[in-house]
């Protein structure tokens, strides 16, 4: 027997919960920001203005072609500089904010492609009907096209967000204490890294697999 000893996990629980709270907070903010920015990018890409669509295309291709870990570490150094450049004085941005910005901008590239496909799946007739009723482009998108598109792409958006949930663990690179990083460090301190990493693995699996199952069920229901 390997002789695992999980007895140290109990005392470490408050810290682990704090780590999970940070992970989920990062996830929720990154998903909201990423979807919002992704939607803007998708609409730019679909616009007939070649400058807008070109800029969006470049953005999406760029962020899809570089590793997330690179973006996270890079932004850790760059974001404070950008804030300084905007506000004129040094602001302590912190690892959380720089990671959040990195995730939002990176994930936006993926969400943009999902949103673009979703908008394109809505027939041109719907846009014409909205226009014929006197709606502007903005109203037609906001009231008619995007609500339908989001409904259709909800499973894909959620799947992408589950991947992001796992990818948030990359913040260890800049020392942010998310769930995985907390588990690792607590395990190291008490000299039981295996037990803590096993626990972390189980927790990530249960949340990701559970969420994925729910999404699949949702997908089936939407398909009917």
């Amino acid at each position: 027997m390997m002789g695992f000893d999980f007895s140290q996990i109990g005392p470490a629980l408050p810290g682990l919960i704090d780590g999970m709270v940070l992970t989920l907070k990062l996830l929720l903010l990154a998903v909201s920001g990423g979807v919002a920015l992704g939607t803007v990018l998708a609409l730019m890409r679909l616009s007939s203005n070649r400058l807008l669509s070109g800029a969006s295309k470049f953005y999406v291709n760029y962020f899809r072609s570089i590793p997330l870990l690179l973006v996270i570490t890079w932004f850790y150094f760059v974001v404070p500089l950008i804030f300084k450049w905007i506000s004129g004085e040094f602001v302590a941005v912190g690892a959380f904010t720089s990671c959040l910005v990195a995730f939002m901008m990176f994930e936006a590239a993926y969400y943009a492609e999902i949103v673009r496909a979703g908008v394109q799946s809505i027939s041109k007739g719907q846009l014409n009907a909205a226009y014929a009723l006197g709606m502007t482009y903005g109203q037609a998108m906001r009231l008619i096209i995007l609500p339908q598109a989001f409904r259709k792409m909800m499973p894909l958006l959620l799947q992408q967000s589950i991947i992001l949930f796992q990818d948030t663990s990359l913040v260890y690179a800049v020392g942010l204490m998310d769930f995985l990083n907390t588990a690792r460090s607590k395990g190291d301190i008490v000299g039981q890294p295996n037990e803590f990493l096993i626990l972390a693995g189980v927790v990530y699996f249960v949340i990701s697999f559970g969420a994925s199952t729910v999404v699949k069920r949702l997908q089936k229901r939407l398909a009917v």
């Binding site: 014409n128 014929a132 009723l133 709606m135 339908q148």
Partner: protein, 247 residues
């Protein structure tokens, strides 16, 4: 007196391919004009140029004194005053029937929720579907959806109505319920431009019939003339009429 809708030498190209060639006609207030012709003749494209859903490159379209092609014209405002009914209904599937009827009234015309609802339900009642107000479009038959689409357009208090093959996507037994609504509208004096193959409808209520072929208006005459002396019609129109009036 100037007409409600005037088209002067309207031409349109898709790249090198000309889809509309020098189309000129006018629809007077209260007039019902039926546009017919073989598929691909440009009739749907023509009617969509009237409310600028299709741009055109040459010519002029004047609707109630406003030039549709003028970049200074506020197109959303102009479109809000012209009702349009589509071949595929195009109700908004994510909204209830009531919301379909009220959304543009509220967001475009700025009417209050109550006023929009009252107006919407009034027209829903007129097309005989008041009982379905809380349903969603997917729960209605094609004919019912098209009647809702007509009610939606009427709720905006349009000065004219455009119909783009409103019965072409319907099962045969549902065609009449939609035509009945259109006939009633025509009798009430609504200005209507209808792309349709329903010659029975044309005979019953049209003032004028336009026949299009290959992007051009070939015939544009009073109903009596159009149906009265078929031999006097152009060869293309005779050919078309003989095909659709055979049975």
């Amino acid at each position: 007196m100037s007409a409600m809708i005037t088209l002067k030498n309207v031409s349109k190209w898709y790249g090198d391919f000309q889809v509309l060639t020098d189309c000129s006609t006018a629809v007077e207030k209260g007039e019902v004009v039926v546009v017919c012709g073989p598929s691909g003749s440009g009739k749907s494209t023509l009617i969509k140029t009237v409310n600028a859903l299709e741009p055109f490159q040459k010519g002029e379209i004047i609707v109630d004194g406003l030039s549709v092609g003028d970049p200074k014209t506020d197109l959303p405002k102009l479109r809000a005053r012209i009702g349009m009914v589509f071949q595929n209904f195009e109700l908004f599937p994510h909204l209830s029937i009531t919301d379909n009827l009220t959304i543009a009234q509220e967001k475009v015309l700025g009417r209050s929720k109550d006023e929009a609802r009252q107006k919407g339900l009034h027209y829903l009642d007129r097309v005989g579907l008041k009982a379905h107000a809380a349903k969603f479009p997917g729960q209605l038959s094609g004919g019912q959806q098209q009647r809702v689409a007509i009610a939606r357009a009427l709720s905006m208090d349009p000065i004219a109505m455009l119909f783009d093959e409103p019965t072409s996507a319907l099962d045969p037994e549902m065609v009449n319920e939609v035509l009945d609504v259109m006939v009633e509208l025509a009798h009430e004096g609504m200005t209507m431009m209808c792309v349709t193959h329903e010659m029975g409808f044309a005979r019953k209520v049209a003032n004028r019939v336009i026949f299009m072929d290959k992007g051009a208006i070939v015939e544009d005459c009073a109903k009596e003339e159009f149906f009265g002396d078929i031999k006097a019609r152009s060869e293309r129109a005779q050919h078309f009429l003989s095909k659709i009036l055979q049975h």
